[in-house]
């Protein structure tokens, strides 16, 4: 193992890679009917999760996922000291109200749908740096609260373009510690904001693909690796439109991702039967897919090393209405079997 921690232009290599000791996924009914349906830990049939509003429902999902992840970590793992969490709602209200009962010091994060990547990276840095023995990385999204904030009330009739994605209802949580578990975070490449001037908020895959490409290519250059060094390079929620663009942009930069690349948004829903158009999106999309599908493959040793790249579209209704473009961001996390 190299002694270097600072790698290349913007990457980190962990000298003592923090372990992902447990993961939890809680999802809604639609997600449970998708291709990964049977793999999730908990399914909430009630979209309101017994609460009075979409926002409170999302908070309840966070609380359930966080509790479950800490429960699954078991007594052998040191208690979680810090919490890294975020969501899509204004001023992170799903997080604030969701984690209050956990009574943990909180770092609130916003990276749009890339939030879990940011939480995992910062959590890993905190554990590797010796600032905490165990931390919790957490995020959530909810179809109802996201539609209400970014688009229209749910009962409003309209047509979604084929490039639109469907916000995943759910929450994913991960406990990171110095030891334990069968997967660990060996490296990370935090992403830059990349803006190719696209203004279509209903085509977020195309808005985020340049950011995903930039982070993935920079990561490979920083580590001196090739796509073939990974069993899988998994983006968060580019969807079918964004995937096509990413493959083309990456090939222009000399990297062939064809056959290596997967997208959580395309894994979680079946567009033919679930009417989700280009795929799933939202903070929970990549988080629950990692917890329920990707991580178990690494833990069993079916995969040795993956590059997990959650993607985020950095827009608000204000920036959109004021005519600004939709910039993207993507964070890359290297997760290896151990």
């Amino acid at each position: 193992m190299s002694a270097e921690t600072i790698i290349g232009k913007q990457s980190i290599q962990f000298r003592e890679p923090p372990h992902i000791v447990s993961a939890a996924s809680v999802v809604g009914k639609k997600e449970s009917e998708g291709p990964l349906g049977r793999l999730f830990d908990q399914v909430e049939e009630d979209p309101m999760v017994g609460q009075a509003s979409w926002e409170e429902a999302e908070s309840a999902l966070q609380k359930k996922a966080a509790r479950l992840a800490m429960e699954k970590a078991g007594p052998g793992v040191p208690p979680v000291r810090y919490l890294f969490s975020g969501d899509l709602l204004g001023q992170l209200i799903a997080t604030s109200f969701g984690v209050i009962d956990l009574k943990l010091p909180l770092f609130g994060l916003y990276g749009a749908c890339s939030t879990i990547g940011e939480a995992l990276m910062l959590g890993a840095m905190t554990v590797q740096g010796g600032y905490s023995e165990a931390v919790l990385a957490l995020t959530s999204s909810h179809f109802g609260s996201a539609e209400k904030q970014f688009r229209y009330p749910l009962e409003y009739g309209g047509q979604r373009p084929l490039s639109a994605t469907w916000t995943v209802t759910g929450s994913g949580a991960f406990v990171l510690a110095r030891s334990g578990g069968k997967a660990r975070i060996t490296g990370a490449t935090p992403g830059k904001v990349v803006d190719y001037g696209l203004k279509d908020s209903m085509n977020m895959g195309a808005c985020m693909a340049p950011a995903a490409c930039d982070t993935i290519c920079t990561h490979l250059e920083d580590f001196g690796r090739q796509p073939s060094d990974y069993d899988c390079i998994v983006t968060g929620d580019l969807g079918s439109v964004g995937q096509r663009i990413l493959l083309e942009l990456a090939s222009e930069r000399g990297y062939d991702l064809e056959g290596r690349h997967q997208d959580c948004g395309m894994l979680i829903f079946d567009p033919e039967t679930q009417d989700t158009h280009a795929g799933g999106s939202g903070c929970a999309c990549s988080a629950v897919t990692l917890a329920a599908y990707l991580l178990p493959k690494l833990e069993k040793g079916q995969w040795k090393r993956i590059l997990f790249v959650p993607t985020g579209a950095l827009l608000s209704t204000v920036s959109y209405n004021e005519g600004q473009s939709v910039p993207g961001i993507a964070h890359a996390v290297v997760i290896e079997h151990c």
Binding site: A52, S53, K148, Y152, P153, L154, E155, Y156, G157, G158, Q159, R160, P161, L162, S163, K192, V193, V194, D195, Y196, G197, L198, D200, N203, A206, P210, D214, T218, V241, R244, I245, E248, E252, R253
Partner: protein
Amino acid sequence: MNEFMEHGQEEQVQLSSEGEQKYNAYVKQVTPVHSLGTQMLKAFVTGGLICCIGQAVLNFAGRMGLDKDMAGAWCSVLLVLLSVVLTGFNIFPGIAKWGGAGALVPITGFANSVAAPAIEYQKEGQVFGIGCKIFTIAGPVILYGIFTSWLLGLAYWVLKLAGVA
């Protein structure tokens, strides 16, 4: 064609305006869209059906002895009621998804655009929720509809003064 980045600037986080135009054109080219023909046909069927219902109400009201204005009012009120009830039962979004503009252009679409925010924002209270946000979608139609009527009225008045109208 798809070289958006300028030579030697491979890690650009923003493009030149020319590059942005190229990227926009490329994205347009690779993004699938709904078939216009099918959409128009579905809109025609949906819109046609709604108008048939309206016509039936009008004819019935006429036969009941109502004059043209009253019959028209009953027609609008009943279509609005139908749309609001279907919105409440979450059936209207399905109709609009299938029928597109066919469901949205008639008065049913307008009713849905008022009822939907009322349901969604009810949780934020009677004043700041329903009160402030009920017209978030229909607001522009109301404002510019009234403004245009006022402009036309003004023009009519001027023409009348000039002895033209």
